[in-house]
Symmetry: C2
Subunit: 199 residues, 2 copies
Amino acid sequence: MSTTTRLVVLGAVNQFQPVHGYFLRRELMTWHIDEWANIQPGSIYNALRSLTNDGYLAENGTESAGNRPERTTYRVTEAGEVELLRMLRDALWTVEVFDTKPVMVLTSFMYALQREEVLAGLEHRVTEIDARIASNAYHIGDVATSTSTPAYVREIFELATSRLRGEQQWARDVIGRIRSGDYVFAGEDGDRPARRATS
Amino acid sequence: MSTTTRLVVLGAVNQFQPVHGYFLRRELMTWHIDEWANIQPGSIYNALRSLTNDGYLAENGTESAGNRPERTTYRVTEAGEVELLRMLRDALWTVEVFDTKPVMVLTSFMYALQREEVLAGLEHRVTEIDARIASNAYHIGDVATSTSTPAYVREIFELATSRLRGEQQWARDVIGRIRSGDYVFAGEDGDRPARRATS
DNA sequence: AGTCATATGTTCAAACTTGACTAGCAGTCG
DNA sequence: CGACTGCTAGTCAAGTTTGAACATATGACT
């Protein structure tokens, strides 16, 4: 499945474990995950199976509450914890010009990293976006002088640039909020964002 | 396949017809379509088959240049022209908060609509984005007072808002450019953006 | 003349996604 | 009370995407 789906499901199991598919389905739907990450309910079950095959999740047995259907619960393995951090770091330190999903997912699970690393990654993002905008400006210049490229291709780069500026402003704002003590990160006291998974 | 893939392939066949799969593949790769629309080469051939099944494309026979492998060329049917306009209108008049692809694709093929409609659609977009931003502000307020929603969910909405502001600024800018005579639209004279498809 | 990289044009199996479907049970509403 | 709606929990077939693989051909270089 896509990296996004993997990261979301692995991150969510980590947050609510031990947890069964239907709980994740409901929880993630309240996050409107179908809108911002394009993850439909069916994909969650597939991701659980696939991550289990890869050894990042393990089945935790089956429960049944009342006369309800049986359900399989999952938890994250040690390899899964390592993989989760790897994927989060990847999302933190990579700027995708066109794909909006990685940053959204990063934001949802960044609490699993340490405050200092998140701040460093976000500062890197601000700088990196400047570079991408500069690069786009040269592309726009090329399009203007090229005879073979359709003129409106310019607008693709203009749009990407505008959206990057928006993302950069957000990065600056959130750096400010995190620096001033908002949110709780790995290794810090305080209420974890995770609620317990209850049926 | 996804709406995006359909629209890209239908629009590109319309622009270069009669055209074979490998030409589209090369052309679309020069547009970096894999980066901004997540379309890999394999998907293009699938889209051609699928759109043909739906009656929006028709095979135009097979050519072979020299000792090269045979290749099937395609053209857009009348139903396909109608469908292309329908999909473009849909992309023009719909604001997707999280999915960046529809506007990018719209930008690539908007020349197939009329200048006045594109301007009206973009103006609607500017207004609509204001509404979405206002809506996000209420979401952010809810998160702040809710005890069950993790606090960092706020950042998802903040990020979406920032990116929307970027998109809105672009819409304003491009309205200005189109109004001042940039680009050539349906029913107007001048060089069409389409180049001829040549092998 | 041989070799190596690259271009041509497409197919394919494996993986992933989608959205409808199943099937029992709980509440509710006239 | 009977009908109906909606929740629980998940499966599945059909469709889509992916990235590699194929087989030839041309060009460039030694």
